[in-house]
Symmetry: none
Subunit: 222 residues, 2 copies
């Protein structure tokens, strides 16, 4: 997820823009309607991109820009009213990356933001990976690769591997695995775990040895 900060005192416009980014599903959207709230957010979070109105109650967009630049080089887009060339000049001086002149379409703002992030939409949602011992697991794609080779896993195998990889190096006993993979309500035997560990190891081929048996303890990966 990309963390985005949107600061705009016009509530309707703020909702419109924030809603547009939220609807895309790959943004963590944080909003502020005045300068102080914005500065507080800047202090607390690390943003990947910021969209700032200039005219704000309290500290203005330039102040927020400076605060952001104090901690990162993330792209900053200014929103400005028509015909305010002075502001545009000043904005570039203190490190803005883009300008949008109001009124603008959220679609165009979104497109510009993507360009600034220089990532495609697909890439934005593709970047989550858990890796370990040459095994890569892509939670969103539900894909697993071992040594660059795609591996086909049954659902239980996949979730079992996921739980193990999410707890890399940590021993999980059979009861815990049953809870995490099968759900707490499941009343099967712990031999079920063994059985699926076996299937998982087999599916992983030579990479199956990454899953270690801890006698009397359970299983762990790495």
């Amino acid at each position: 997820m990309v963390k985005i900060l949107i600061v705009e005192d016009n509530e309707e416009l703020l909702d419109l823009v924030a809603g547009y980014f939220k609807s895309k599903g790959s943004f963590d959207v944080f909003t502020a309607a005045d300068g102080n709230a914005a500065l507080k957010l800047v202090d607390e979070k690390d943003f990947d991109i910021a969209i700032l109105d200039i005219m704000l109650p309290g500290p203005d967009g330039f102040e927020i820009c400076k605060a952001l630049r104090g901690k990162s080089r993330c792209p900053i887009v200014f929103l400005t009213a028509l015909g305010n060339e002075d502001n545009i000049l000043k904005g570039y001086e203190i490190g803005a990356d883009e300008y949008m002149v109001k009124p603008f379409s959220p679609k165009v703002l979104y497109a510009k933001s993507l360009a600034l992030l220089s990532r495609t939409e697909a890439e934005l949602t593709k970047e989550v990976v858990i890796e370990c011992s040459g095994i890569r697991l892509y939670p969103l794609r539900m894909d697993v690769e071992a040594g660059g080779q795609k591996i086909k896993l049954a659902p239980k195998e996949y979730f079992l591997l996921k739980v193990l990889m999410e707890n890399k190096g940590i021993v999980l006993d059979r009861d815990r695995l049953l809870d995490l993979v099968w759900g707490v309500g499941f009343d099967g035997t712990d031999r079920t775990v063994d059985s699926h560990i076996k299937k998982l190891r087999k599916s992983l081929g030579s990479y199956g040895s990454a899953i270690k048996t801890v006698i009397g303890g359970g299983y762990k990966i790495c």
Copy 2:
């Protein structure tokens, strides 16, 4: 001067919106409170932009949209009541550019209108494409090609494919697909998704295999 047509049967709302545009000074505002008056205006004038309520006495907004599209590619904004997803669907089919859900602010409507007007011809015809496995989807035209061959899809098939392609490689479970394609209010069964996946695959012919079933997970494309 920009010639704008505003059609709305609620007199108060019509005055409000028309007044807002008039106050900006750069619009020639024409209004109609029912379908027949609107059609007459469409016949007589060439508008640069139109704002249409859907529910109207006489011919509805869709009729007027068709009449407009019969003579120009001017931007068309529909006004619709909340929770009327069917209308939105239908509107896009017959060539609407934007939607405003009531209640809305004249200011935002004005902003959207300006944004629509400021699109250059190039932008309008610029081909936005989502591509994947030999399938190309043109969101603006609602067209789909597979292997260079144009494919005719039913609306639900199209939107299903669009959602999948917008999330290329990412597994979407049936609930998520129901939310994204059918809308969050829809209370149908998962089997509906399967059914439409099947129809979509069939429509795509040999390219249908690009849609992968992830057992226990849902569907993904690529």
